[in-house]
């Protein structure tokens, strides 16, 4: 069985569309996971018990079960209680929250590692607890976790393929569709691997840029 890439170009449009969706999901879910991660981390560390306990249970649910299952429940389960989300939105929320919980773990550790003197320095100036956390602690904690969070973003990009379970035609599913028509799996999988790699390179370049900017203020 030799490789025959001549079938690929006729599916170019489909793959490109899939790639567009993959990028869109990754960006939206990436942003959600970033800010969600901060919110979860702050809630887990500073919120009163009554919020912290359910938060911890929520985090454990998301850490403990496969993303596939979470997406399924968000899309097919929530509608049964009257919350009707479009597939794309459900996908973004599922992916976003899943990785927000991961990011929150990183940010929590890094918040705890911010020098206690920073907190005292700010409080001494008269800033309130909330102001101190928002303006002094969080900005420093987030900077410190950009590299490991980059790891998560790259994982998120790849896991966006799971959104196909709720019928979103992203890159991997687009390729599988093309395969189920043409029966040319290797050609398409290689093409798709290349597409992911390409997005990944852009992502890595972006991360390096952010890291350099942050390094400038160190």
């Amino acid at each position: 069985m030799g490789l025959d890439f001549s079938v690929v170009p006729s599916y170019f449009g489909v793959l490109l569309q899939g790639m567009g969706l993959t990028i869109a999901i990754t960006i939206c879910a990436g942003i959600l996971s970033f800010f969600g991660g901060i919110v979860f981390a702050v809630a887990a560390l500073y919120a009163p018990m009554i919020i912290r306990l359910p938060m911890r249970a929520f985090a454990f649910l998301f850490m403990g079960t496969p993303l596939l299952l979470q997406l399924f429940l968000i899309y097919f389960g929530l509608i049964q209680v009257g919350i009707d989300l479009p597939a794309f939105v459900a996908g973004v929320i599922g992916l976003g929250l899943h990785f927000a919980v991961y990011n929150s773990e990183l940010i929590q550790a890094s918040i705890l590692a911010v020098d206690k003197g920073q907190y005292e320095g700010a409080r001494t100036l008269g800033l309130s607890r909330g102001q101190t956390v928002r303006r002094i602690i969080i900005p420093q904690a987030v900077r410190a976790v950009i590299p490991p969070m980059g790891n998560n973003m790259i994982a998120l990009l790849k896991d966006s393929a799971l959104v196909s379970v709720i019928g979103v035609m992203e890159l991997t599913l687009a390729a599988q569709q093309a395969i189920s028509r043409t029966y040319r799996p290797f050609e398409f999988y290689l093409a798709v691997a290349f597409c992911y790699y390409f997005i990944n390179l852009a992502l890595e370049a972006g991360l390096r840029h952010v890291e350099r900017r942050i390094a400038a203020s160190r």
């Binding site: 920073q118 700010a122 100036l125 008269g126 800033l127 309130s128």
Partner: protein, 255 residues
């Protein structure tokens, strides 16, 4: 006219079973400069941190300008009250505690802008005023990581001054500095003394204390062992413990 501006009455403080402060009394008049000296672990930092409620006292009272700082209030009101009085108390730490993610300008303007609602123009005027005072105007847009230790500490002082505090607390402001850099910070503190800023200074530099302070407290094991003008404390201390402490210091500093 001397009013007792800062007043500490029967202050006591324990961490668990460890009693760190035991019945401390201290009054500081407006414009006065008080130095606190004493061996490591004697409770100097704890006392300063009690004044602005970073480590609230176990018992006793702290007053600033006729207002009691360590009042018992419901949590929300206490928060607001504490944030308010802290704005009147500038504090400078041994390790500067500059905010690494903000420039010098950002460090200095953060609190005034958030708490006093200064406009950008007002804030800029304020930074320039304070930086000129500490002689660092040219570093206005640098990040702290690019400053030397002495410069960092001067920025920390400017940051505290920008809130126009009524009293300044210094906790070993120079002891993390390389020896050459100490002088520039001491200069700034001397200048504040000339401007009659009320100050409480914890320090290991006896000579500096002697040259700027109105009064010196020697603390050991949580009590004030001896208190008086620098000439008395440094030249003719009454207490044996004070003499011992000073002897050690002088031995090291080439007496």
């Amino acid at each position: 006219m001397t009013t007792s501006f800062v007043k500490i009455k029967n202050a006591a403080k324990s961490f668990g079973n460890l009693q760190v402060l035991k019945d401390i009394n201290l009054t500081v008049d407006r414009g006065q400069i008080v130095a606190i000296i004493g061996p490591s672990g004697s409770g100097k930092s704890t006392l300063l941190r009690a004044i602005n409620e970073l480590d609230p006292l176990t018992s006793g009272e702290v007053w600033l300008e006729g207002v009691q700082i360590n009042r018992h209030l419901p949590p929300r009101q206490y928060e607001a009250h504490v944030n308010q009085v802290r704005q009147d108390i500038g504090m400078v730490f041994q390790h500067f505690n500059l905010f690494p993610h903000l420039t010098v300008r950002g460090n200095i303007t953060l609190a005034p802008r958030m708490l006093k609602g200064l406009t950008e123009a007002q804030a800029n005027a304020l930074v320039e005023e304070q930086l000129t005072k500490v002689g660092l105007l040219e570093k206005i847009d640098e990040y702290p990581s690019r400053l030397s230790g002495g410069q960092k500490q001067r920025v920390a002082i400017a940051r505290a001054l920008a809130m126009k505090p009524k009293v300044m607390l210094f906790d070993e402001a120079t002891s993390a500095l390389d020896p050459e850099l100490v002088e520039e910070v001491n200069m700034v503190m001397k200048q504040l003394a000339d401007e009659h800023m009320t100050m409480i200074i914890v320090t290991h530099e006896m000579d500096f204390a002697a040259s700027v302070c109105d009064r010196v407290l020697f603390m050991d094991q949580g009590v004030v062992v001896e208190e008086g003008p620098p000439s008395v404390i440094f030249q003719n201390p009454v207490e044996e413990r004070t003499r011992n402490f000073l002897r050690k210091h002088l031995a090291r500093n080439g007496g």
